[in-house]
Amino acid sequence: MNTISPDRSGPLALFSQRLEGVAGAERQQAVAALQRVGLPSRRVEAWKYTALRALGQTSLAAPAATYDVMAARAVLDDVLAAQDTLAGLPRLVFVNGRHAPELSVLSEAIKVTFFVDTLRFGTAAAPDRDPLVALNTALAEDGAQMQVEAGVDAGALLLLSIGLGGQDSTFSFHPRHAVVLEAGARLALLCVQAGQGAYFHNPVTDISVGNGAALEHVTLQLEGDAAVSLGTVYANVAGEGVYDSFALGVDGLLLRHEVHARLGASRAAVHVNGVQRLGATQVGDMTSVITHAAPDCISRQTVRNVLDGHARGVFQGKVLVEQIAQKTDGYQMNQALLLSPDAEIDAKPELEIYADDVRCSHGATVGALDDEQLFYLRSRGVPEAQARQMLIEAFLDETLALIAHEGAQALCRAMLARKGGVGASA
């Protein structure tokens, strides 16, 4: 049995009691890895811009076995009310990391098993490579394992995580999800992470996209206002497969969406797009590592940030092109609109290329709202606050248009309109 020394400094101490009790080879291996490296400090390159201080000082317990049904229903209803086609979708609902069958609606096209029954960790996420994945491996309570059979178009599925926290952070949950699309299968997976109050949400999603299969994966971070949400996605994409990912960071104290995508056979495509709309003292981090491990693959990454107050946005995008990956077509763009002098964006693009016949480009821009555009709108009678809102929406418009699933795109727009206060009346 591995043990964590109780006087060990750093955020790992918040979990020390729970880590002592883990059973099973994979979990113990994860604890051993955590003991070696700890949870990342800002001295670790991949966490240079994002500190885990927001996790607080108090030990984080496992979530309680029961939950407040009324509160969970209220969150569910609030999400469904934001976009009118959502209520008609099949859905899997998790409350504080545990499956809530009474709130879920199953689909015949998608085979679902639960982690709590299978204890299957998957293979993509190596525990010693990423401490937050190791933490998830050690503590995972539950999760959905979704499988679509070859050639089946399973439509859309809502995977809703509801976190019900109080004023101070007292517990954490570590869902372990998996998605398997067999050859030629299709699925649009809408992951909505909603909640209230303070908690730590640490999901890991292990994705396998088969030959010619297509997964659209839209993640909305609408967490509780004092919540910390650090999610990691590992996606392996086979030949001619498409992994089309979009993340929207809106609510939560500290948000990180980290994607590791591997293009494993030729003519595969990966899109890792996103929008962060943050204010006050929020920190949002979009990190990605895209590995081109086969020739003739495409990766596209477009991230836009709108930051107000003292908010800080982080973008880290690494594209690794292995020697075999000739004819790689890679594109990465990160743009930020800073609405206040105290807002900040930290952008770190990285290209690591070992093949000699590739096309990879990247870029970054930072700016404020354009005075001329603002004046033009105001000179047409549009009040200043509304004019600003119109220009913010315009800045985000073409990135949101990258979301192929109409309902998901409409949901993202609705959540942004909520965040912006006044939506354009037109």
Partner: protein, 256 residues
């Protein structure tokens, strides 16, 4: 209300690259209701600055003088309040708004102004009907309502879009800042007709132009010549023809 628009001793400057540059040096101008006035003058004389100051652009600092619009202190109002009060500026270089749909933009503007004027807002259907009719009258392609504001528009299309906005916002005082520049004869006529349709005893316009051509279609009541930040000469419509034939040099040396 003695006059409709009363500009007295207006001085304004701009801070350009850390240097303050005085551009308006005592502009006096009165425009009665129902009249179309024209300002002509060499480049750099302050014509566009005057139009921006009247519309409320914040880059310019008014250092002296006053502007009364229908008895109100225009300079104390925000740009959107000026629009609601009935002022409209057709921009010399209309601004592109990527990501903003033209129809949404027009409807947002019209409803903002209607709200401020105490009128009922238009719903999407009623507005689109109105906008399509107005666009057709201006010989605009129907898809211009669906495109992003001024993005990818030709020079002529941008100017027509300005006139479309003017038509829909129903101003009582319009400033046209070189709206005719770069237009062919047909487009020129469309722009002039757009202004002529608004002409009424309660509507006035201030037209900034270099060319007599526009004034063939848009018969003005009065011509003003601006130079070095002031109005140096005013006269009837014949003054524009004289300038068109003889240039500004003669007037500038007389005024000096």
């Amino acid at each position: 209300m003695s006059q409709f628009l009363e500009i007295s001793g207006l001085n304004a400057r701009i801070d350009a690259d850390g240097q303050e540059k005085q551009i308006l040096r005592g502009v006096d101008l009165s425009i009665p209701p129902g009249e179309v006035h024209v300002i002509m003058g060499p480049n750099g004389s302050g014509k566009s600055t005057l139009s921006y100051v009247l519309a409320g652009r914040e880059d310019y600092e008014v250092t002296a003088g006053s502007v009364l619009f229908k008895g109100q202190d225009l300079l104390a109002m925000a740009p959107e309040e000026r629009a609601a009060a009935g002022l409209f500026l057709a921009f010399q270089s209309p601004v592109e708004l990527p990501g903003v749909n033209n129809a949404n933009f027009l409807r947002t503007a019209v409803n903002a102004v209607r709200r401020a004027r105490g009128q009922e807002e238009l719903d999407a259907v009623a507005f689109l009907k109105l906008a399509r009719e107005a666009a057709k009258t201006l010989s605009m392609a129907p898809d211009m309502l669906k495109r992003n504001v001024n993005v990818g528009f030709s020079g002529g299309e941008k100017k027509r879009n300005e006139v479309l906005q003017m038509t829909l916002l129903q101003p009582s005082f319009a400033i046209l800042d070189e709206t005719d520049s770069g237009l062919d004869v047909d487009a020129l006529r469309v722009v002039a007709e757009g202004v002529n349709r608004l002409r009424a005893p309660t509507f006035s316009a201030l037209v900034i132009t270099h060319h007599q051509k526009l004034l063939d279609y848009l018969v003005p009541d009065r011509i003003h010549v601006m130079a070095r930040g002031r109005i140096i000469l005013s006269g009837g419509p014949e003054l524009a023809r004289q300038i068109d034939q003889e240039g500004y040099a003669k007037f500038l040396s007389e005024a000096a």
